[in-house]
Amino acid sequence: MDAFFALAHGVTVAIQPMNLLFALVGVLLGTAVGVLPGIGPALTVALLLPITFKLDPGGSIIMFAGIYYGGMYGGSTTAILINTPGESASMATALEGNKMAKAGRGGPALATSAIGSFVAGTIATLGLAFLAPTLVELAVKFGPEDYFALMCVAFVTVSATFGDSPVRGLTSLFIGLALGLVGIDRLTGQARLTFGVPELLDGVEVTTLAVGLFAVGEALYVASRRHIEEEVLEPVRGSLWMTKQDWKRSWMPWLRGTLFGFPIGALPAGGAEIPTFLSYSTEKRLTKYPEEFGHGAIEGVAGPEAANNASAAGTLVPLLALGLPTSATAAMMLAGFQQYGLNPGPLLFAERPELVWGLIASLFIANTMLLVLNLPLVGLWVKLLAIPQPWLYAGILVFATMGTIAAKPSVVELTMLGAFGVLGFLMRRFDYPIAPVVVGLILGPIAEAQLRRALSISLGDPMVLLQSPISATLLAIAAIALILPFALKGMNRFKAQED
């Protein structure tokens, strides 16, 4: 069992006092930022990236682990207490959780989500520890053409297959790909789309894009529709603890949620929305208390919350083993690795095992810390939620611009931040998904490099893409995943006409 040894080694890295401290700081910061309304885990990671600029890679990647899980936990607290899910994956939690909080059962709702996240996170991280090395062994055999095909699958599934509208998803993806073209072409050294601006030669910074789209875009969007809805913060009343019956009703949904979340997260299918909604509808069907659904059923919090966390750990499988981000948060984690010149993938497992396994072990530790810290600290997080909205968003914008200023104090970079903010605002208003832009920017240049490498090895013969069985299969999957939503839509229309 190699994974056991590797994991044990990772634990020895992770329990060094300095690294424990990094994990703790990460967990606290991640929760504190993630709990703020409108800030999802992706933005949490993006906002906190600059803090780790000057730390050593090992420590800061461990801090990311804490930020990642802390951000997830914070997001569900917000979803339960003010019904503003920071991301679509928390939507199912908000559905029942906010009803529970309104009925004075906010405490048990927070508890079942915290304990469920812990259970799911632990099982899924174990899954990650055993699945990732297997995937790495497989990935060693991958040629550049296979990587390219794999990225095509990720592009299609992230943007087209599972969204509301494949056209809008693909539009987002191609805006991301276009932004990915900016800068010096790595193979020939020619500048593309820089329009003579020297600052653009390095390309578009992923953090600038993510912070612009998520933070500035969200602030503009919320400000523009402030006249429409007011957020109501539900106070946590009554006991925090779950009753015996709550436990009885929660443990199966936790496990079922994990079973939905981890595999779907680990597939390059993108997003935690599908497993959370699958879990929600399953619990709704299986529950003994169907009359409570829609009025605050604890199963409806326990299941989706577990699914959400399990899929977050699942997305780390393709990220660490293949370097393939399949969600906006994973894309931000990849940006975190890249700022140290590290590229996740088989090579990283071979060259820097202490880093990879230290990260995986830290995920366990971060998860445990969250469980121990967050229920006692819930009063503090609720206070953070009570910050008046004007100061909250003013603070978010100050922090967002500060991150950009700290990374690159240039007028061009800040102007881009503002422009991406406007883009993010428009995309929210017209309901274009945002994650594909980030994934397109970070994955586009990598996919291009792999394709060009493949074709220069084959002396320019494009058939190499179909001659490798792995690549041919993956491209076929990508093609099906691209056509399927259009075909289904056509069929629906056909059916509708028949009725």
């Binding site: 056209v167 529709r225 402030r226 603070g395 200023i405 800040l414």
Partner: protein, 157 residues
Amino acid sequence: MSTRTPGRVDKAGLVIALFLLILAGLIWQDLTSLQLSSVYGLGPKAMPVVVSVGLVVLAVGNAVTALKGGLPARERLDWKPILFILGGLAALIACIKFEIGFIPATAILFAATSAAFGRRAFLVDLLIGFVAGIVIFLLFSKLLTLTLPMGPLERLI
């Protein structure tokens, strides 16, 4: 709140399609200035061609959706807060450009955003932003040794 009847042409959707066409055109124009230099395989032009063509196709797709009125319904827009926030950002950029410093820049952005969200205490918020700016500056420049832009005030600290 305005509701849109499906089937009506959505002008905003057509503008989006036009924007995508312009983006595709920009990429195409830029790629003509590149020189082919790969001996085998694809040069630096291949990817821009793919993205540019893809954008044209998507522009058509978006235009079709717009013509059918298939865009999601939208609420009435309040422009004033957007202008406040963007104005705050512009002021921040000006502060960096003319070396007025990080702390005043932060104070202005904070107060402008706060005003955008409906607070009517600009001077108080300016002061809060100022203090926040000092704290962030100290934290980042002294503790994390990151370089933030300096103005007269920052040099004093």
